[in-house]
């Protein structure tokens, strides 16, 4: 399967990664603000984990939904350098997506990964959910792994890079 088209066959859930031109009104406006979006392209409703929490790509599976594969021009993978405190997702983190509906969140990628200012990177978001709350047993909660298309990103040279 091509990295540019990683739609899940069983219910056509798609993960989309876009660069935000206007960063959210947070204390630190610098960085690389991206939006991770889940889109139900299928014809049936599907339940998804809308928490979309970011954590280390090797952290326990139930303690993250999103991580990124970020590579420079030489193929070197950017390191995840943040430390995240998070627990299991809760029932209220799950919502039903009707056909054509989306859910997403904004993420400053540079807060989590070691990126060099002025360097260009290819970034792909990864969504994983294998958790189904006991209250939703029997409900079509989407489980599995999705990879977004690749997006070019760069940290502006006047933005302080992570040390």
């Amino acid at each position: 399967m091509e990295a540019t088209d990683m739609r899940e066959e069983k219910n056509e859930l798609e993960l989309i990664l876009v660069r935000e031109t206007t960063p959210p009104s947070e204390p630190s406006q610098e960085g690389i603000h991206c939006r991770v979006v889940l889109l139900n392209r299928g014809g049936c409703p599907v339940w998804v984990n809308r928490r979309l929490a970011v954590n280390h790509p090797f952290s326990p599976l139930h303690l993250r939904e999103v991580d990124f594969l970020i590579r420079d021009a030489f193929g070197r993978v950017a390191e995840f350098v943040a430390k995240v405190r998070i627990g299991l997702p809760q029932r209220e983190d799950f919502i039903e997506l009707s056909p054509g509906e989306v859910v997403g969140r904004s993420i400053d990628v540079s807060s989590y990964y070691d990126l060099e200012a002025g360097e260009a990177y290819d970034a792909q978001a990864i969504y994983e959910n294998y958790f189904v709350p006991k209250e939703l047993q029997g409900v079509p909660v989407w489980t599995g792994r999705l990879v977004s298309h690749s997006l070019k990103i760069a940290l502006q040279t006047d933005t302080p890079a992570l040390v």
Partner: protein, 114 residues
């Protein structure tokens, strides 16, 4: 330490010691205090300031075990409920189970260095 309303995580810290706390940390006063201690008293004061900032899978897991051990040891200080302490123990287990056996043995004796 900054509050971020958009944060889906309870808290996180970058290598350059920027701590963000999300609304999920505001479950109770004790839980908030414990979350801040996790980030500041462990990840900043013990890891970042001393330069012991592990980013590999084992090191990251080991330092999360250390942070949760610290929270559990300070549960009375933060006024955590028994349910909250149980949750901390469960999270510790999640990270502990990600460790190789030799690092599990080190963590069991309170050694959190690679």
């Amino acid at each position: 330490v900054l509050y971020s309303s958009a944060l889906r995580e309870e808290g996180y810290i970058t290598r350059n010691r920027q701590v963000r706390i999300g609304s999920r940390a505001f479950r109770s006063a004790g839980w908030l205090a414990s979350t801040i201690a996790h980030e500041v008293e462990v990840h900043v004061n013990i890891h970042a300031i001393t330069g012991r900032w592990y980013t590999d899978p084992e090191g990251s897991a080991l330092q999360e075990v250390e942070a949760y051990d610290y929270e559990i040891q300070n549960a009375q200080r933060f006024g955590l409920s028994s349910a909250e302490v149980t949750e901390l123990r469960n999270r510790r287990v999640e990270h502990y189970n990600n460790l190789p056996h030799d690092y599990q043995a080190k963590a069991d004796t309170g050694i959190y260095t690679l």
